[in-house]
């Protein structure tokens, strides 16, 4: 197992290296001057020297990688001049984290409940209603949901503030109230994904041979479902739920921009549009790290939840 984890981590490091290399060059392809027009020539020259922009691209890359390996990730150029990029990122994380955690608290139980209801009542009105909702939620993009919520609930009905309330203190009642719409907009897609998985897995489990045996043992339909079918259908659900937990750190660019939330997502869009090279690369690095780690955690958690892999795995691997 340890050998396997080490192998996976090495592969992850390599992947991350490739990602930051590609993003280093790709971001230079964006047209426009980092330093802005009209600044005076001396200042420009000083800035170019500070950020090594006067050297050839390859040399810049070598310097960048060297610094990166010594955990010097560079400074923000335009958005937050001279501040180390990870300080900027760390400042943005709490708000994104709060929004995403609220969204998860809604998403997971709702998704599981809808999935169970649909599987137990398969091919009835309940199932059809839930399945229609799933198709709708999966296919309508989140910015459409966000805009619709904003337009109807905030603008037309005036129930909620249109944008996130930033004047109110962090986590105050007023601010939490203004978080309702973005949290809802963040949740729809996740609910649909979990519902779809849960329905399929539970339905399969319900028609399995071990359910027949559980019933033959004398368990009622309810007991057999809870003790055997649900347990079994939760295992593949790890595949979707674990990445959701991991991704609470990464903000949604679309939803954060629409509701004017100064989180990681809007920092990302901001840094790209101002050609803030090092900040963009650092955010991409954080996002990639989160995603790669969650894939690894999913694979490992499978081994923890499923005894067939936990105990049986050792025999088959190498």
């Amino acid at each position: 197992m340890a050998k396997y984890i080490v192998k996976r981590i090495l592969a992850m490091v390599l992947t991350l290296f490739i990602i930051i290399s590609i993003s280093f060059f790709a971001i230079r392809l964006i047209p426009g001057d980092v330093l802005g027009e009209g600044a005076n020539p001396e200042l420009r020259a000083a800035m170019r020297a500070r950020y090594h922009l006067d050297k050839p691209l390859i040399e810049q890359y070598v310097i960048f990688i060297k610094n990166f390996l010594s955990f010097d990730f560079g400074e923000s150029i335009n958005l937050y001049p001279r501040r180390p990029v990870f300080d900027v990122i760390a400042e943005k994380v709490p708000l994104t984290l709060v929004l995403n955690i609220f969204s998860l608290i809604i998403t997971i139980p709702t998704g599981i409940a809808c999935g169970i209801a649909a599987a137990l009542k398969k091919n009835t009105l309940t199932d059809h209603a839930i399945s229609t909702m799933v198709v709708f939620n999966v296919s309508v993009p989140s910015f459409v949901f966000a805009s619709l919520l904003q337009y109807f609930l905030a603008y037309k009905l005036g129930w909620f503030p249109i944008l996130l309330d930033l004047k109110a203190p962090f986590m105050s009642g007023a601010q939490l109230w203004s978080m309702v719409l973005p949290v809802l907009a963040l949740s729809f897609g996740g609910i649909a994904t979990i519902t779809r998985y849960m329905r399929a897995e539970l339905f399969e489990a319900l028609s399995s041979e071990y359910m027949l045996l559980a019933r033959a043992k004398g368990l009622t339909q309810l007991q057999a479902t809870v003790r055997h079918a649900l347990r079994n259908s939760f295992i593949p659900l790890c595949n979707v739920i674990v990445p959701m937990f991991m991704s609470v750190l990464s903000g949604s660019m679309v939803v954060e921009t629409i509701f004017n939330i100064p989180g990681l997502g809007s920092l990302m869009t901001g840094s790209i549009s101002t050609s803030d090279y090092y900040l963009t690369i650092a955010i991409l690095f954080v996002y990639s790290l989160i995603n790669l780690t969650s894939v690894l955690v999913v694979d490992l958690s499978y081994g923890i939840v499923d005894p067939r892999i936990r105990i049986g795995g050792g025999k088959t691997r190498e």
Binding site: A216, L219, G312
Partner: protein
């Protein structure tokens, strides 16, 4: 507890009629099935695939698919009407009085639950047995069904067991609550021949020890000859002949039973011999044919077979057959040739 004496009728199924609703129409799966089970005996139900054996069992244990419709008949267990019980009421009987073993031991255990827990589950839930006592009982059961080192195996998972071992566990689960009736639905079809005979021996041994009444579903006549006291032959949702095992094997009356027996290879069958097959296949049960359902495949069919269903003709107190050949006016055909000589040879060997 055992107010029922050996040989008394413990389970009685009368005129059971059942259909499955499908898009193509209603499949007439059972068309008036009647049989009974006596305390302490083994009743075998035989027939080809699709004849309604498993459906009969699932009706008796109330484990039918939701599209099944019971159209008539009655099932009585120790004087209680099973058919009209709710799922909750019957859950009290299922597993504790009437237990079932299904065909596929490889997939019938919960893959993510420890073996021990699967055995103790019913003891804990239904008999409210304390944990330690339930574990002791489970270890006892595992030893009884021939699992070596039960202490160690108790905490293992199904995938760590072989097919034969899994079927032993399934049997242990079925016996956990000391049932009176054990129903085995082709318990050995998924296993290889050596394991098969071990499992059959095990069931027989447990039956003698616990005074079980056993219903044995199979399409393997060799198994029937070994384990059964009485036999029901099923065809197209009906029992066409029933009798003691001697009556069915040495004095079969129904042409379908003849065909079944003839198509079974015997010790005298050499590798060059072609096995006899029954021509055709089961009729479409959405629209069951008029008359005797077997008539189209029966080379002894008479005109009346295509017009009217034969009633059960009594041959002896235990032996009945549903064929017009038993009618007093019917021509006396007798058992057809290859089978007749085979039975004679068999009888000669046994004397």
């Amino acid at each position: 507890m055992n107010e029922y004496q050996k040989g008394e009728r413990i389970l009685d199924v009368q005129d059971l009629e059942l259909g499955f609703n499908t898009y193509a129409g209603q499949v007439q799966a059972l068309r008036g099935v009647s049989f009974h089970l006596n305390k302490g005996e083994t009743l075998a139900i035989v027939g080809e695939s699709g004849s309604g054996k498993s459906v009969t069992i699932k009706t008796v244990t109330k484990l039918l698919a939701p599209n099944a419709v019971i159209k008539g008949g009655s099932i009585t267990y120790k004087g209680q009407d099973i058919l009209n019980m709710t799922d909750k009421q019957f859950s009290q009987l299922r597993g504790s009085e009437i237990s079932v073993i299904f065909q596929d031991p490889l997939s019938s255990l919960d893959p993510v639950m420890k073996i021990g827990k699967q055995i103790t589950e019913t003891l804990r839930i239904k008999l409210k047995m304390p944990r330690e006592q339930a574990k002791a009982r489970a270890l006892e059961l595992m030893a009884a069904v021939g699992i070596p080192e039960p202490e160690k195996r108790f905490d293992e998972f199904p995938f760590q067991f072989s097919g034969g071992m899994r079927q032993r566990i399934v049997i242990a689960i079925a016996l956990a609550c000391n049932p009176e009736v054990l129903i085995c639905d082709e318990p050995t079809t998924a296993l290889d021949v050596t394991i098969q005979s071990q499992i059959l021996e095990l069931i027989g041994e447990l039956q003698r020890k616990n005074d079980l009444s056993v219903i044995f579903i199979t399409h393997d006549l060799g198994v029937v000859a070994n384990v059964a006291d009485r036999v029901c032959v099923m065809y197209a949702g009906k029992i066409v002949e029933t009798g003691t095992v001697e009556e069915i094997f040495y004095d079969p009356r129904h042409p379908y039973t003849w065909s079944l027996l003839t198509s079974m290879p015997s010790l005298a069958t050499s590798a060059e011999d072609k096995l006899t097959v029954i021509p055709g296949s089961l009729p479409n049960m959405v629209h069951p044919p008029k008359g005797d359902a077997f008539a189209a495949r029966n080379r002894f069919a008479m005109k009346i077979d295509f017009e009217e269903e034969p009633p059960m003709f009594k041959i002896s107190d235990t032996h009945y057959a549903a064929t017009w050949l038993e009618h007093p006016d019917a021509p006396k055909i007798g058992i057809p040739e290859p089978l007749k000589s085979r039975i004679a040879a068999q009888l000669a060997r046994e004397v």
